[in-house]
């Protein structure tokens, strides 16, 4: 496993509509890091995740996961990643176990039933196994979404706005799980968010995206030493994303 698990060089994405979502994005995430990708809505965070998870092709530039190009070896990339979208959707008419069985099979997981049990146990969700997903709350759905993403023990886990729509208890539970995933499995985590408080509590490094450009990238330790507490981090974030703030005010 290379030390740099996510490598992005001069990545650009312009949609057919003409909207440019990413402009020369260059970024590295090292193995075992929890990386927080911060930015306003529409900054290009989800586009970045879609490209890194092979769901979308870039217009130009290069992106590699664990040394594999997202364009040239998408299946190799997919073997190394797990993905939890912003709004986790699963087969509502199937049980959690049936959902996990399907996604586990597609990922080629061996000893699947045992792995499902282990994963649900890790997520403290064994009681959900035989319940229909359609009856789940947002928080429970998020947990099964996380289960499908880590079932094959990926090297990198992509989380797109994982706390979106969760209540405070759900947010804390998810935060604890992310930290445990990182410490117990050594999973590198790439997390899109616009919640500064979550970044400060969970991440090792942060990147700030503004209108498709990376405008800040440093470790949380360095940021804390330089700027102090969460409030200062918020001030920093707002100061480096002025255009978006002006747009919002308008």
């Amino acid at each position: 496993m290379p030390d740099t698990v996510i490598e992005i060089v001069d990545l650009n994405k312009t949609y057919a509509s003409g909207h440019t979502a990413l402009r020369n994005l260059t970024l590295e995430v090292r193995q075992g890091e929890v990386f927080g990708f911060l930015g306003h809505n529409g900054a290009g965070k989800t586009t970045t995740i879609h490209i890194l998870t092979t769901l979308m092709a870039p217009s130009s530039g290069m992106a590699k996961i664990c040394g594999h190009s997202v364009e040239e070896a998408p299946n190799e990339v997919r073997r190394h990643i797990g993905y939890v979208p912003e709004n986790v959707r699963l087969y509502d008419t199937m049980t959690a176990r049936a959902n996990l069985r399907f996604f586990g099979r597609l990922s080629g997981v061996e000893n699947l039933e045992r792995r499902i049990d282990e994963t649900l146990e890790f997520l403290e969700s064994q009681h959900l196994a035989d319940r229909l997903v359609g009856s789940f709350s947002k928080g429970l759905r998020q947990r099964i979404g996380l289960a499908q993403a880590i079932l094959h023990r990926p090297a990198v886990l992509f989380l797109d706005e994982p706390t979106s729509g969760l209540d405070p208890l759900g947010i804390k539970t998810l935060r604890d799980l992310i930290v445990r995933l990182n410490t117990e499995f050594g999973t590198t985590i790439f997390m899109n968010t616009h919640l500064i408080s979550e970044i400060a509590k969970t991440c090792h490094t942060i990147g700030v995206l503004n209108q498709g450009r990376l405008v800040f990238n440093d470790t949380i330790t360095a940021v804390s030493e330089r700027y102090g507490d969460d409030a200062a981090l918020e001030e920093l974030y707002l100061s480096i994303t002025p255009v978006a703030r002006k747009d919002e005010a308008a």
């Binding site: 769901l55 997919r78 008419t93 399907f102 997981v109 000893n111």
Partner: protein, 315 residues
């Protein structure tokens, strides 16, 4: 521990079969098709038994009167003629069932919103497409096999009908052609289930195509009005000999899919009207196979290029 994926197409196939049967529209249309197969068998049995009973009564009467008894008219016609209604039901409901099943095979995944989760699995898009197509073929094969089984049972139950080896070949040929015809529409449903951004439009376009193939094109090429399209016999009467129909028959005939199927069915079930001449520039076999190949390519392309970032239809 990771291994190379064990036949993802088969995983998609099994999963698709499990999910699509839970779709209410699929269950309803499949049940309707099955019901009509029984109706067709009953109508064939009822009409034949009635004619046979009348003939037997008449024969007894004529014998008593010392008059000559003419041959049983049922024996003069091909026994396969008994299935004439089947061709109508396949053409109408079978093709519609194909569309609904093909469409729901994709829509069930899209409506569930799981496309991004499938798209991030180490599964080639073509394996996904293959699994979905295999599921479509499996379900349609099941429906056609059921219809064939009912037909075979009908022939065994009805007295006085003996199919020659050639008749059996034609009977199974008819079901093979019916399966291919339904598959064409199934692939149409699959294609638009994948291409469309809106759930409604995704179903509306194949249904419009179905209406055009079944009712509009036959009217343009052979002056067969929509009601006549429902009739197994008059649908194949000779078209008017005016220049307009000469031209439309020649030009639109090759794409008049329903007519091609009805002509093939009539050939196989021995119910082609005497002197009937197909005016299309190409044979009905070519029309059917061409449609099948084109739609298989369209479905493969649509499934391979489907937007996997979207969890759902637009609405």
């Amino acid at each position: 521990m990771m291994t190379t994926s064990p036949s993802p197409a088969r995983i998609v196939l099994r999963h698709s079969l499990g999910t699509v049967v839970r779709e209410q529209t699929v269950a309803i249309i499949a049940a309707l098709f099955v019901a009509l197969i029984f109706v067709s068998a009953f109508l064939g049995w009822s009409a034949t038994s009635t004619v046979d009973a009348i003939y037997k009564s008449a024969a007894v009467y004529l014998t008593k009167q010392g008059m000559a008894v003419p041959p049983n008219p049922l024996l003069a016609a091909s026994p396969l003629y008994l299935l004439r209604n089947m061709a109508t039901y396949v053409s109408l409901i079978g093709s519609l069932a194909g569309i609904v099943i093909g469409y729901q095979l994709i829509a069930s995944d899209r409506k569930a919103g799981v496309m991004p989760l499938i798209g991030t699995r180490p599964v080639e898009r073509r394996a996904y497409a293959l699994g979905k197509t295999a599921a479509l073929v499996s379900i349609l094969c099941g429906l056609v096999a059921f219809a064939a089984l009912v037909s075979v049972a009908t022939f065994f139950i009805l007295p006085g009908f003996h199919l020659s080896a050639h008749d059996w070949v034609k009977l199974f040929g008819f079901y093979a052609v019916s399966g291919l015809y339904m598959l064409v529409f199934g692939l149409l449903g699959l294609t638009f289930g994948a291409l469309s951004r809106s759930e409604t439009v995704g179903l509306l376009i194949p249904i419009t195509a179905w209406l055009s193939f079944t009712f509009i094109l036959p009217q343009l090429t052979s002056n067969i009005n929509p009601v006549a399209s429902l009739n197994p016999v008059t649908a194949l009467t000779a078209p008017p000999s005016s220049t307009f129909f000469q031209l439309t028959g020649l030009l639109l005939g090759p794409v008049s899919l329903a007519e091609a199927y009805r002509t093939l069915a009539a050939q196989l079930l021995d119910m082609l009207p005497p002197g009937f001449a197909d005016r299309a520039a190409i044979s009905p076999w070519a029309t059917l196979l061409m449609a099948l190949v084109l739609l298989a390519l369209a479905a493969r392309s649509a499934l391979s290029r489907m937007d996997m970032t979207r969890g759902d239809y637009n609405g």
